[in-house]
């Protein structure tokens, strides 16, 4: 009674259908696996692997880029430091050179000055000596001339007197 309401109006229990469903399902399973499920699942798995690989390589690339950027930054810092070093070295050198030049110039000037002074003194002394000799000669000559020409008796007498006076004193 219950079975009759359950199993449609025919009143039969058709186990043949069960068998048929199993066969159809099994065939469907095999065909779908071969034509659709297999290739698509494979592709999904492949894609999953590819995504994993891509992510991994992206991560490693990023790491590499980071390292590279750090290196570059360090190099930049270094070069900046070097440039400053070079600049300050050059400045120091220039200062040294300039002060040396100035000092050299000063000593040169001083020596030239000293030499000139000495030369001048020498020249003066030479000139004086020469002049002294010449003055003596000239004065003797003048005196000779004066004495030989204009010296009167009175003058002579005065001269002698003066001379004697000088002796006395």
């Amino acid at each position: 009674m219950t079975f009759q309401t359950l199993f449609a109006a025919s009143g039969h229990i058709y186990l043949g259908n069960t068998l048929w469903y199993l066969i159809v399902f099994a065939i469907l399973l095999v065909l779908v696996k071969h034509y659709a499920w297999g290739p698509v699942s494979d592709m999904m798995e492949k894609r999953r692997q590819k995504v994993i690989n891509d992510l991994d390589s992206a991560a490693s690339d990023r790491k590499k880029a980071e390292v590279l950027a750090n290196e570059r930054e360090a190099a930049l810092k270094n070069s900046r430091q070097e440039a400053t070093q070079i600049l300050s070295d050059a400045k120091a050198n220039a200062q040294k050179t300039s002060s040396k030049i100035v000092a050299d110039a000063n000593t040169d000037a001083a020596s030239i000055h000293d030499k000139a002074k000495a030369d001048a003194a020498q020249a003066k002394a030479d000139a004086l000596n020469e002049a002294r000799g010449q003055v003596a000669d000239i004065s003797v000559a003048i005196a000779e001339k004066v004495i030989s020409k204009n010296l009167s008796a009175a003058d002579q007498k005065d001269l002698v007197d003066q001379f004697i006076k000088g002796l006395n004193e």
Binding site: Y14, W20, Y21, V32, P39, S41, K46
Partner: protein
């Protein structure tokens, strides 16, 4: 009530409507699957996307309910085909019912307890297979007595009720849907001439839409519960 055409072959009774319906839908599924997966590429096209979405959907049902990774791989295909098969068979009766004389030739095969019981039996046997494969015959039987010994008969009864509820739930939902659709189409529509005919059209449409929803839910539930029952067999309690 319409009769189904039953014939005897090799000592077994065959119901023609179920055979026609299931074979037809299997062919449709095969056609759709092949059509969707004609060009399988690394960068998926639209058709492949649809198929992959469906595959992901059934794979998630499997993953959510079966913890054993080895079984997951095997059950993926089963869940995929089972879901498609049941869904298509649920939908068949909504738009196609062929009746010749008193006999029904095409309707939803799932509106028949034999069909649903066949699939429930398949799941049951599959769960036994997986259980025995995982734990061996001894371990399989010992799992019935877990966690305490006196639960053995209750667990045995549960096996039968699982089978019955799994199959009859699907049958009841689809059968009721078809009965109501038949009632609207055959009894309500011609009852008072043109007025009821006009009234019956949107009613049938609404009920068809709702039946699509029910059919999808039932296919999902059937596959999910199948996976739950199989998953229970491959995990130690």
């Amino acid at each position: 009530m319409e009769k189904s055409f039953v014939f005897k072959f090799l000592g077994l009774n065959f119901d023609l409507s179920g055979i026609i319906g299931s074979t037809l839908m299997a062919a449709v599924i095969l056609f759709v699957c092949i059509w969707l997966s004609r060009k399988v590429e690394m960068k998926p096209n639209k058709k492949q996307n649809a198929l992959e979405y469906l595959l992901d959907f059934t794979n998630n049902i499997v993953k959510d309910n079966v913890e054993d990774e080895d079984a997951q791989k095997h059950l993926s295909l089963y869940a995929f085909v089972l879901f498609l098969f049941i869904w298509f068979m649920n939908m068949l009766g909504l738009f196609l019912e062929v009746k010749a004389g008193d006999y029904m030739f095409v309707k939803s095969p799932t509106a028949d307890p034999v069909t649903t019981m066949s699939f429930a039996m398949m799941t049951l046997l599959l769960s036994f297979t997986f259980g025995i494969q995982k734990f061996g015959v001894g371990g399989f039987w010992r799992n019935y007595a877990a966690p305490v010994g006196f639960l053995f008969p209750i667990n045995m009864i549960e096996e039968i009720t699982n089978f019955l509820t799994l199959s009859l739930r699907l049958y009841g939902n689809i059968y009721a849907g078809e009965v109501l659709l038949t009632l609207i189409g055959n009894s309500l529509a011609p009852s008072f001439g043109i007025s009821t005919l006009v009234l019956a059209a949107p009613l049938a449409m609404i009920w068809q839409g709702f039946s699509v929803f029910i059919g999808s839910i039932q296919a999902y539930v059937f596959v999910t519960l199948s996976m739950v029952y199989i998953g229970k067999k491959v995990t130690k309690e």
